[in-house]
């Protein structure tokens, strides 16, 4: 039998339907791959017993012909999703040994459709980070290394565990979340496919909140088709999230292979940065050429407020985070430090429970919302956000169907290499992805090539609201042209 972990999700679905193998065999293959890959630190909690029980149940349903669309498919779950009876920490010490008594809407839909949970995946603490280095469980290793080098690189973040596990063939797909690039940047760093859907497409209920007007869940997968299959199960209206969109979920997989002939693709001139590596520039032109040969029309577009997206984000996101994270008070759940009075209890608990990056962002958020500074910072940032969204609307009004950009300004870097002296150095990773969150649009990162050191690079496609199908059609054109990339095993 071929190695079951190397199948795509679509191939595994066929194998299960044809009874070539069982879900239990598929699940066991992944559980043993996880055991052998602990060096990567992608999983913060392995749930083998639960996985096998879910696999047996899926096998029974497959035998009875009652199988859901993801029956028997083993997945990893980012530790930001509440899983009933299974420890959920957002990779923060402050949540300690938190065991939810409820299940997030997104994961409950995956189980409804028959998927199997292998365990919980590492991420940056409260999803704040671009390298998965802020996790209280320690950094995650990228399965990719520079050619001829033994240096361990970061997988990107905040969904670093999700991206690393999918790339290293430890799970067939993973849930992830994206507030400023946390699905697309790690996908680009690991040669996986990641899609952040339109704001409101997936329910945020039961996902640990970071910045509520920007947070969206989405999948990381090994192919565009696999991502489409996962998103179909994850998406959908949920009365428990008032910002969740009451719009029917299309069959995203049907968009794969659909002609892109006549589609108008925008190339935004503001994304051409000074000092951008020549390889990224080259990859971007190649991507445009692939879409052109598939019949799309390429046009230059302008998104004049692009450069203000990242600074506006670093006001809006910390402001919302400071408010969301006020709930971690040492009283209702998680860590509690001893104190003489209630104020000290809050202060001591939050000082020792939050890591440095989280403390910094909560403090900046508190400052920009404080009396006398609200107008200068927060209100101004929300006005700039209106302008950023308008840039995209103007562009789509001219008939542009999607926008093509690089996914990241560089390939993966070494652990500890960035952001040590100046936090802003790390924040610049999200320069191409953050605009999409600010405007609430869907964006997909697709592996597109390698740099001179053999590290993967990705391209991003940005779509109109709720037109994820267009992104899947275009993404598959890039995937077909670029091919798929698998790292050589060293772990």
């Amino acid at each position: 039998m071929t190695d079951l972990t190397s199948l795509t999700l679509a191939e595994a679905r066929k194998g299960l339907a044809d009874k070539t193998f069982t879900s239990l065999e598929l699940t066991d293959a992944h559980l043993s791959a996880i055991e052998q890959a602990r060096l990567l630190n992608a999983f913060v909690l392995e749930t083998p017993d639960r996985a096998r029980a879910m696999a047996r149940e899926a096998d029974a349903k497959l035998a009875r012909g009652e199988a859901g669309p993801l029956a028997g498919i083993p997945l990893g779950i980012k530790d930001l999703f509440a899983t009933k009876g299974v420890r959920t920490t957002a990779c923060s010490k402050i949540l300690g040994n938190f065991v939810p008594t409820y299940e997030s809407t997104v994961t409950s839909q995956l189980w409804r459709d028959g998927a199997v949970m292998l365990g919980k995946l590492n991420n940056d603490e409260f999803a704040m980070g671009s390298a998965n280095e802020t996790s209280c469980f320690g950094p995650v290793g990228n399965p990719w290394r520079r050619e001829g080098s033994n240096t361990t690189l970061v997988p990107g973040g905040s969904s670093g565990g999700s991206a690393s596990a999918v790339a290293a063939l430890l799970c067939m797909g993973a849930t992830a979340t994206d507030t400023g690039g946390s699905i697309r940047q790690p996908a680009a760093f690991t040669a996986t496919v990641g899609i952040k859907p339109t704001y409101g497409r997936c329910s945020r209920w039961g996902i640990v909140a970071f910045a509520s007007s920007l947070d969206q869940a989405g999948p990381i997968a090994r192919s565009v088709r696999d991502a489409a299959m996962l998103l179909r199960s994850m998406a959908g209206h949920d009365p428990k999230d008032t910002t969740s969109a009451d719009i029917a979920v299309p069959d995203y997989e049907a968009a794969i292979g659909k002609s892109v002939k006549g589609m108008k693709i925008g190339i935004p001139k503001e994304y051409r940065l000074d000092g951008m590596p020549a390889e990224i520039e080259k990859l971007w032109s190649e991507g445009a050429a692939w879409l052109r040969s598939a019949g799309a029309e390429l046009v230059e577009v302008s998104l004049p407020h692009t450069k203000y997206a990242l600074p506006a984000y670093y006001i809006v996101a910390p402001a919302e985070a400071s408010s969301n994270l006020a709930r971690y008070d040492g009283v209702r759940y998680g860590l509690r430090e001893s104190a003489k009075n209630i104020i000290e209890l809050y202060e001591n608990t939050r000082a020792s429970g939050f890591g440095a990056e989280v403390r910094r962002r909560v403090m900046i958020g508190t400052y920009v919302l404080s009396a006398g500074y609200y107008d200068a910072y927060y209100l101004r940032a929300q006005k700039v956000r209106t302008l950023i969204k308008k840039d995209f609307e103007d562009c789509f009004a001219k008939g542009v169907d999607a926008i093509l950009t690089p996914a990241t300004p560089s390939a993966a870097f070494g652990i500890g290499e960035k952001g040590g002296a100046d936090p802003v150095e790390m924040y610049l990773n999200d320069i191409f992805t953050v605009t999409v969150n600010m405007a609430g649009l869907p964006g997909i990162a697709v592996p597109s090539g390698k740099d001179a050191q053999g590290l993967p690079l990705g391209l991003q496609l940005i779509g109109r609201p709720f037109e994820e199908e267009t992104l899947f059609s275009l993404g598959e054109v890039i995937e077909q042209a670029a091919g798929r990339f698998t790292p050589a095993r060293w772990w």
Partner: protein, 95 residues
């Protein structure tokens, strides 16, 4: 704009995060680096621009004013560090 050491202590207290004296200079540097970065927003002309309140043009949904959940006190206190019955325990707040 930049923050001084007194402001750093004030923000820390507002955020309910204990900060020791030797952490202040470091935090001050980091917060000022972030403030310097966002300073470029002041060059944007926002005259007459509405601040964003919702990223998608949707009406806030309303639900029936009925009780549709509850009776789960055991669940609510299940993860609390200190409880008595269905109550959270905290240090004495009223003398």
């Amino acid at each position: 704009m930049s923050v001084d050491a007194t402001t750093v202590r004030r923000i820390a207290h507002l955020a309910r995060i204990a900060v020791s004296e030797d952490e202040v200079p470091h935090l001050q540097g980091e917060l000022n680096a972030m403030l310097a970065f966002v300073e470029q927003l002041s060059e944007v002309n926002v005259e007459g621009v509405e601040p964003m309140t919702s990223v998608t043009p949707m009406q806030m949904k309303k639900r029936q004013d009925v009780v549709d959940d509850g009776g789960i006190a055991d669940d609510i206190v299940a993860n609390a560090p200190a409880t008595e019955g269905h109550f959270f325990l905290v240090p004495k707040v009223v003398e």
